[in-house]
Symmetry: C2
Subunit: 213 residues, 2 copies
C-alpha cells in the first residue's frame, strides 16, 4: 500500500476551502495511431484462477495500477478507456512487477499500451484517486477491505494522469481507445463495471478547467 503519511490536521485553517484544478484539453489536439497487436491472455476462468493462486503463493498481494486520463469534447470531460474485443472496457494500466513502484509500473504499462516505444512519453502520474480490494480469487472488487478479511489477494489503485495539450497515442490493433463522457459512465454499472462507473465521483473533488483555444 505504499508509504503511510499521517496527516495531523490541527491547523484548522488548512487547505480545506481550496479546490484543486485539473486542466483538460480538446480531443482534437491528440493524435491516435496503431501498432502491432498486444498478446492478450485468452484463458478460461478456471485457468485464470489457478494462475492467480500460484502467483499469490509465489509473490503475495497482486497490485494493479490504472490511469484516469481526461480530454474535452463538446465542452464535457471524457475519460480515455480501452475496449477489448468490442465488449469489455478497461482503464489503461496493469499489474506491477514484484518490487516495482506504483508510478514506475503505471508508466511502463501506459507506454506499452498507448505509446509507439517505451520511454517515449513522459506520463505525469498524479494523485491516487481510489483503491479497490479483492478478498479472494473469484470475488468482487470493493472500495474497502470487506469485514473479516485480514489478508486481501488483490488491490487495484486508480491514479489521475494529467495529459498535455497534445500527445500521440499509439494503440495495439486489438485494442480500441475511446473517449467516453463522464455523464455516460456515471452509475452505468452494467456497461462499465463497478470501478469505472465510480470514476466521475472520484473526480468530483477537482475543478475541471476546459482549456479551449
Amino acid at each position: 500500500m505504499g508509504d503511510l503519511v499521517h496527516v495531523t490536521d490541527n491547523n484548522h485553517d488548512n487547505s480545506s476551502d481550496q479546490v484543486v484544478a485539473v486542466d483538460i484539453y480538446p480531443l482534437s489536439g491528440y493524435y491516435f495511431g496503431s501498432k502491432d497487436p498486444l498478446l492478450l491472455r485468452d484463458e478460461t476462468l478456471h485457468v485464470r484462477v489457478q494462475r492467480m493462486k500460484s502467483n499469490y503463493d509465489a509473490r503475495g498481494l497482486r497490485t494493479c495500477v490504472e490511469a484516469v486520463m481526461l480530454v474535452e469534447l463538446f465542452k464535457h470531460p471524457h475519460v480515455l478507456l480501452l475496449q477489448v474485443k468490442n465488449s469489455v472496457f478497461k482503464l489503461p494500466g496493469g499489474r506491477l512487477r514484484p518490487g516495482e513502484s506504483d508510478i514506475d509500473g503505471l508508466r511502463r504499462k501506459l507506454s506499452r499500451k498507448l505509446s509507439a516505444n517505451d520511454n517515449e512519453t513522459d506520463w505525469e502520474v498524479g494523485d491516487c484517486l481510489g483503491m479497490w480490494w479483492r478478498s479472494g480469487f473469484e470475488t468482487m472488487l470493493y472500495p474497502y477491505l470487506p469485514p473479516n478479511v485480514k489478508i486481501p489477494k488483490e488491490c487495484t489503485k486508480l491514479f489521475l494522469v494529467r495529459l498535455p495539450a497534445s500527445q500521440k497515442f499509439i494503440v495495439p490493433k486489438n485494442l480500441k481507445l475511446l473517449a467516453v463522457p463522464l455523464c455516460q459512465i456515471h452509475e452505468n454499472l452494467k456497461t462499465y463495471g463497478p470501478v469505472i462507473s465510480g470514476v466521475p465521483q472520484l473526480l468530483s473533488k477537482f475543478a475541471i478547467n476546459i482549456i479551449d483555444y
Copy 2:
C-alpha cells in the same frame, strides 16, 4: 467553489506513492445524548421549489456542506448518518449562509445538529472528498456539471471530518444518529441515494487505521 489551486505536477517523484491515513476509533468511545427537537421544514415539493427559486434570485448558487465522519464497529469502518422520520438518511451538514466559508458553515451546522451548545465541539474539518451539482431546482444531483449547463443552481460539497477517540454527540430528538457500515452503504442507491452510496468509493484512497485499545 472556493479558491482554485493550480497544481503543477512536474516533479515526477512527488507523493503519488503515498497513501494518506485516517485513524478511526471504536464506537464505544463516543457518548450519545439528546436535546430538544430541531425545527424541520415540512413543505410540499411545490413550496420547496418556490423557496429555492426565490433564494436563488436573491443570493445565487446555493451551497451545502456535509460531513463524512467515521467510527469503528466490528473491525469495519462505519459512517455516521442522520435519519429523519425513520426514512431519509442524510450526512450531517446543511446550507451555507451568504459569504460564509465552507469550514465555518460546516462547523456551525455540525454543532447545531450534533452538539449540546454552539462552539462546544472543535470539529476538525479536513479534505473535500467530492462535489455534486444540481443544474435546476427539480433535477438530480450529479458529480459533474452536466453538459450544456453553464450556471448550476446548487452545489453540495462533502468533507472528511476526523473524530477524536472520544466525543459527545447530542442529537435533536426528532433525528436519529446511526453508524452504518461501509459494506452496507456501497452501491446501495435505493436506501441511501446517489451521494451517500458513493461515500465508500470517495474514502477508498485513504488507508483507514482502526485504533483499538
